[in-house]
Symmetry: C2
Subunit: 352 residues, 2 copies
């Protein structure tokens, strides 16, 4: 199949450090190519990919030191480029929220749009009501809740290349927290859990400008705790080591997490996940097999105390079965085929 | 003429406090109605206007306390609404940068797009190359410099309703600074000028979140100067009083100001403007008549020392002649008529 993948232009594909959407796009492209498809990736120029790259900006927007940039203009140019070549592809797969809707109305039937973010935002329902013809993919069933009426075509959980993270049969005696330092991710809860257990906690995290005040006021004072080690932002190379050495990943979130990539990154290393029951968690963590799902600090502490009873090899196996790049790519290929079938029978994109 | 005015949704039309684009849209709508035209304003619901209001969001985005909003989704819904009613209008006048381009390609010939912001940004040239069919209006000739190749149809300087600000024949012994506290606006220069003259300076200004660090580190320490009085953000009602009482408005900018509304607000009160020679300044200030154009602090101090020699009534007169709402509306009407003429002769919007 000839497939166009249209990535946001914010981070490199894959990102050098933190960044979810562009990471998933990277792994999806590689897996689709490995499965024998012709894939063209519309992304910024520094992408590393097995697909054919159609570069639409020299550098990802967040990596570009220019002080004066326009996100909107960059994405509009990208979409104009995709539009000009639309007839070279069987499927156009967008990862750019809804910005492409006005451009591709007349061919919505052969597009797929994966929504990567939270959907409980004002202004969104009206957009998805106005453009009901675009088939949408949720990255968890839970993510759909605020927009039950939308044109959902499938849920496709994220996947990552099996070779990216090394299985680690043995942990090295600490708990891990990995992500953004933000009120939704609740690093304070992770610190409280480790403190109650008297176990070391390592925090590998990014602080966005938007979360600077939260970090300075709420989290920085907690880092003086001798059990806590804060190591800043790490890339893929450091994650195997960091996650693989952990007895468990703490994921004490307090928001409707649309997917939560770090959970499957931990599982790829064989590391169990102790996650608060929010958003996608029930769809990703299998309670008692790949981790524990908890409702409060009490349960989290109890879970961390018995996390060594879980089989790290079995956790890695479940990652491979459910969350490898190929598993994700196969689910998308099923969807692409489903969309094409009616289109092959009779051209009715206009009906959409 | 049946005219649609499409405003950004960030601020109320007109804004309660600071905010340029929505203020100009408000005055343009009222003036066009006063001149006998049928105007429909697509804007957020709290707009106060003489036009027919087509409300597209209950509240302006920046006034809406919801923590989770989508600027992009709000504007896409607005544009879909405009698109659905496009045939009710002779002219569609957009104030929304370039976001409408993909929607209105097939009728670009009867659109007008006023660009309100700075144009020396990465990513912009490509967009204006890809959509050359949209007639563009610059708000100063200087603003065009980074995009000389774009499809410029006119420069239309901003205007404001003549009744909004009261002429003040007499100043009350202080210099004024009004605007955002930001490195481009250089409030520090204003303070230095007042200090060298030993004259009181009143600062009425807004501090955006993005400029908080600049305010705290660079400006706040300067406010302890006994000559300086910082009065925070003021609305239209307070501006007559504030600007009208000033011996001069100091406008010591350090960036390519696309227009600089505050200069004509001062002139409406009869208050001369001492402005650094940047961006639009030479097009707005008439040196020796409505103010002085200066190149450095030395010249600014000299100008402030002789500003009382200017005739405040003459300044107000020049405002009325050049920068009233009606003056602006007439220039836009000329342009609308110019665009319609070929369209009336033969329908060739598709050629655009």
């Amino acid at each position: 199949m000839r497939i166009a993948q249209i990535s946001p232009l914010y981070e490199a594909v894959p990102p050098r450090l933190y960044g979810g959407t562009e990471r998933v796009v990277a792994h999806l492209c590689d897996a689709l190519v490995e499965l024998g498809h012709e894939v063209t990736l519309f992304a910024s120029g520094e992408a590393r990919t097995k697909a054919r790259l159609a570069p639409v900006r020299d550098q990802a927007i967040r990596l570009d030191p220019s002080p004066l940039k326009s996100d909107l203009a960059a994405h509009l140019s990208q979409l104009a480029e995709v539009r000009g070549r639309a007839h070279d592809f069987d499927v156009l797969h967008f990862h750019t929220d809804m910005i492409h809707f006005p451009f591709f109305q007349d061919m919505a039937g052969r597009t797929v749009t994966t929504l990567h973010g939270r959907l409980d935002m004002m202004d969104l329902p009206e957009v998805y009501r106005r453009w009901p013809q675009f088939p949408l993919v949720s990255i968890s069933n839970d993510q759909r809740k605020p927009l039950p009426f939308a044109n959902w075509a499938a849920t496709v959980h994220h996947g990552l290349d099996e070779g990216l993270y090394r299985f680690s049969p043995q942990a090295r005696g600490y708990l891990a927290f990995l992500g953004r330092i933000s009120p939704e991710k609740r690093p304070d809860r992770a610190i409280a859990i480790a403190t109650r257990l008297g176990r070391p906690l390592r925090i590998a995290a990014k602080v966005d400008a938007a979360d600077r005040v939260y970090f300075d006021e709420k989290i920085e004072p907690l880092l003086h705790n001798p059990l806590v080690e804060y190591i800043g932002e790490i890339g893929d190379a450091g994650k195997s080591e960091f996650l693989g050495g952990a007895e468990a990943l703490l994921f004490p979130i307090d928001w409707p997490e649309p997917f939560g990539l770090v959970m499957i990154e931990a599982m790829a290393c064989g590391t169990p996940v102790i996650a608060y029951d929010c958003g996608s968690v029930r769809e990703v963590v299998e309670d008692g097999l790949t981790g524990f799902i908890v409702r409060d600090g009490e349960e989290a502490v109890a879970a961390a105390a018995r996390v060594h009873t879980l089989d790290r090899a079995a956790i890695r196996r479940r990652f491979e079965e459910r969350f490898s790049g190929h598993a994700m790519a196969r689910r998308y290929l099923d969807l692409y085929a489903r969309l094409r079938r009616p289109a092959d029978a009779e051209p009715h994109a206009e009906l959409a």
